[in-house]
Amino acid sequence: MENLFDLFIRNVFVENMIFAYFLGMCSYLAVSKTVKTAVGLGTAVIFVIIVTVPVNWLMENYLLRAGALKWLGSSFADVDLSFLSFLLFIAVIAAMVQLIEMVIEKFAPALYNALGIFLPLIAVNCSILGASLFMQEREYGTIAEATVFAAGAGVGWALAIIVLAAIREKLKYSNVPEPLRGLGLAFILTGLLAIAFMGFGGIEI
């Protein structure tokens, strides 16, 4: 159990999706103007990432990997479909986003209204596909590990966007050189935050 907890903490802080891998940057920079929308998008990302990574883990282990089709019979034992992983992962993500959207709309209309446009946008958030590809690359042994990794990655992403949004809200009242206002400053801020997060880099958990 301790192992899973370590995995979670490591993925929130040390291997943060934004500050260590720089994935999901576009929506991170574009949607971080106010804390309220940042919280909405952050929640949606956590949600989608926790659903898609375990599903893609199943795909990877029972369909794509070399020898993964063994359960169909010994004649399939040496089939390697891993070249299809991009296609299948992205199809799973797009389908899951669509499905989650419909489910939330039906059963939790309040949450649906709060997330609004962000839910469909998540299909092209690179941190989601990135998480699935990292899951494949790191070869997590069990579905529990994959799920905890996904939760850590999602929470780390949400944390990062909320931090940036809070800082940008404060900065609205500062006197910044005109051409630097908005986007330029957001980039520089993210750079500084990333340098701060590099402090976690040496920690062995």
Binding site: F22, F86, L87, I90, Q98, G130, L133, E178, I188, G191
Partner: protein, 204 residues
């Protein structure tokens, strides 16, 4: 010459990176050296142009409810092609780019342009728009990688540019430049310079 605008607009006034904020992730990751940056720029130009063309040809037959899946399948198909070609002919560069070729699929430039342009414009215009946006993206990639490789490792395209004598006098390569946070800060400064010249882009 209205077609000319489709090619030149994304280079400055509507640059995908500095104005539309599309496709940032890969910019940070592949610009430590110039060679992977150039390969990445070329791959993205090919994929944006072809994806725009294909989706524009299909635009009247795609049902709106499932368009995201169809667009992603077209993109993923093209990206797999590019990935396999790179693995066959430029294996070492393809190793360096690692997951980022795969992540072209979710490079928001693609989805963004497909949604905003290719879904309601004719194939030829869409093709040009794809090339223009790919080139605008590639331009920033190459500027950024030049700065980072020159100051970070003292070389350009792998050839040593800063002479030995400088190092003997105490010049040291700036190790910060190789790290991703510096890429963000450099992009911030590029935006600052661009908006300094092109004042209509300044945010209110």
């Amino acid at each position: 010459m209205k077609h000319w605008k489709l090619l030149t607009n994304p280079l400055n006034d509507e640059n995908p990176i500095t104005v539309q904020v599309l496709g940032i992730c890969s910019v940070l990751a592949v610009t430590v050296q110039m060679k992977p940056a150039i390969v990445m720029a070329a791959s993205v130009i090919v994929v944006t142009a072809c994806a725009n063309l294909i989706v524009s040809l299909l635009r009247t037959t795609i049902p709106p409810r499932i368009r995201i899946i169809i667009q992603l399948v077209v993109i993923a198909f093209l990206v797999i092609l590019v990935d396999q070609v790179l693995k066959a002919y430029l294996y070492d560069v393809s190793k360096k780019l690692s997951v980022f070729v795969g992540l072209i699929i979710t490079n928001c430039i693609l989805m963004g342009r497909l949604e905003a342009f290719a879904m309601n414009n004719r194939p030829w215009e869409s093709f040009l728009d794809g090339i223009g946006n790919g080139a605008g993206y590639g331009m920033i990639l190459i500027v950024l990688s030049t700065i980072r490789e020159l100051f970070g490792s003292g070389s350009l395209l792998g050839y040593q540019v800063i002479p030995e004598g400088f190092y003997k006098l105490g010049y040291v390569d700036n190790g910060m430049m190789i790290l991703p946070p510096m890429a963000l800060i450099t992009v911030g400064i590029i935006i600052w310079v661009q908006r300094g010249y092109n004042r209509k882009l300044i945010e209110k």
